[in-house]
């Protein structure tokens, strides 16, 4: 190889620079969002673990039940009734979108488009 002594170190420097962000943040996922519970309520419609992993499934199921099957009977947990609705259900307790939605979605780099149509409580659009 001609000019090997230039090309090979050059390549090494290039690869090192390009992968710099990866190994700089190795083993470090950034500050984990601090969870905050809504005040005055202790129980959600499902267990914490289920909601953490599958709240989007709950929302999808509710949407199909409400729109297609016409089933709008509220979900009852410990005597409290919750509408099968994002705006009129979830957001009645989890009032602040910034805290309850955005923080984790930003952290996990998820961009749901709920708020293109649904009303954001408190925040103005």
């Amino acid at each position: 190889m001609y000019d090997g002594k230039l090309i090979i170190p050059g390549l090494i420097v290039f690869v090192a620079l390009m992968t710099f962000p990866i190994w700089k943040n190795m083993g470090n996922a950034g500050p984990v969002p601090k969870l905050e519970k809504p005040k005055g309520v202790t129980k959600c419609v499902e267990s914490v673990q289920y909601m953490r992993t599958s709240h989007m499934k709950v929302l999808d199921d509710w949407r199909d039940q409400v729109l297609r099957e016409g089933n709008r009977t509220p979900v009852e947990v410990e005597g409290v009734k919750y509408d099968r609705s994002l705006m009129n259900g979830c957001m009645k307790c989890h009032t602040e979108k910034k805290k309850f939605c955005d923080e984790c979605h930003t952290y996990t780099s998820v961009k749901p488009y709920c708020w293109d149509c649904h009303y954001v409580p408190k925040e103005t659009f």
Binding site: R63, R68, G70, R72, Y113, C117, Y119, P121
Partner: protein
């Protein structure tokens, strides 16, 4: 055996024709008829008879034009009530306009009716038109994503999450009762009157009247019917229930439907 190229090609060609043609010919001759086209997957029934199946609930509406003619301004009240409840944007521009319910002259509402020597009062009447919630809805059949569908109670509803904005339903609807969001509607909704219980739509989806499903479950009447108050200009109810108010009104009055000859079986009736 000696076979020439010419002979080989002849045999190969004939075999191909026989191979392709035989199954088709067998199918035609053995079955005798082609299978009827099925629309079962679309959710809309394939029945095209003018008597809809009288089973279950079928929600419908009667619009009494005599009351609207006597009471100018009532129609506008209905339109405003509907558009406020459903966060319908006002673009201030007829090209982008979103309409769930609106007024049109007689010849636009009923183009298939005779207009020769028309009744005097029909010249100035403006008829309220909105989704007919057809019993045989062509929009439902056209929708490739099942974003629009017919509910068990006869309401032709929409799931805006699923709408991909292809506008096939708009082409399929013979009444032009669907509107497309060419622009983001949010900035054009009056913030002062925003209904926080009902979502808005986003750019690129089709929308239309939903017979106020979200109000019906609360035991309320549709917003336009409520706006009419006790005037009886609009009557809402179950067409299949012979004791309902709407059935009584239909029994006692001569009513017409929009483009009934198309066989879409509209659930909205007009007393002219």
């Amino acid at each position: 055996m000696d076979i020439k190229r010419r002979q080989f090609l002849k045999i190969a060609g004939l075999s191909t024709i026989a191979g392709l043609g035989a199954p088709a010919a067998f199918n035609l001759l053995l079955k005798g008829e082609s299978s009827p086209v099925s629309f079962a997957s679309s959710g809309a029934g394939a029945e095209v008879s003018h008597d809809a199946a009288p089973t279950g609930v079928r929600l419908g509406m009667v619009v009494d034009q005599r009351v609207f003619d006597a009471n100018q301004g009532l129609a506008q009240k209905c339109i405003t009530a509907c558009h406020l409840v459903h966060n319908v944007p006002n673009f201030g521009n007829p090209k982008d306009e979103i309409k769930w319910i609106f007024g049109v002259p007689y010849e636009k509402a009923f183009p298939t009716m005779s207009h020769y020597h028309r009744d005097e009062h029909l010249h100035n009447s403006r008829f309220l038109v909105f989704c007919n919630h057809c019993d045989n809805p062509p929009c439902v059949r056209a929708c490739p994503t099942k974003a629009t569908f017919k509910r068990k109670d006869g309401i032709v509803a929409m799931d805006y999450h699923r709408c991909i904005g292809c506008r096939f339903c708009m082409a399929a609807c013979p009444y032009g009762m669907r509107s497309f969001n060419w622009r983001d509607p949010r900035p054009f909704i009056d913030k002062a009157t925003y209904n926080k219980e009902f979502p808005t739509r986003m750019r690129g989806v089709v929308e239309k009247c939903n017979f106020c499903v979200e109000r019906l479950v609360k035991g309320l009447q549709p917003a336009c019917v409520e706006a009419c108050g006790s005037s009886g200009a609009m009557v809402f109810g179950d067409l299949n229930d012979s004791h309902s108010e709407i059935s009584k009104v239909l029994k006692e009055n001569f009513t017409i439907q929009r483009k009934a000859s198309l066989g879409t079986l509209p659930s909205v009736f007009y007393i002219v």
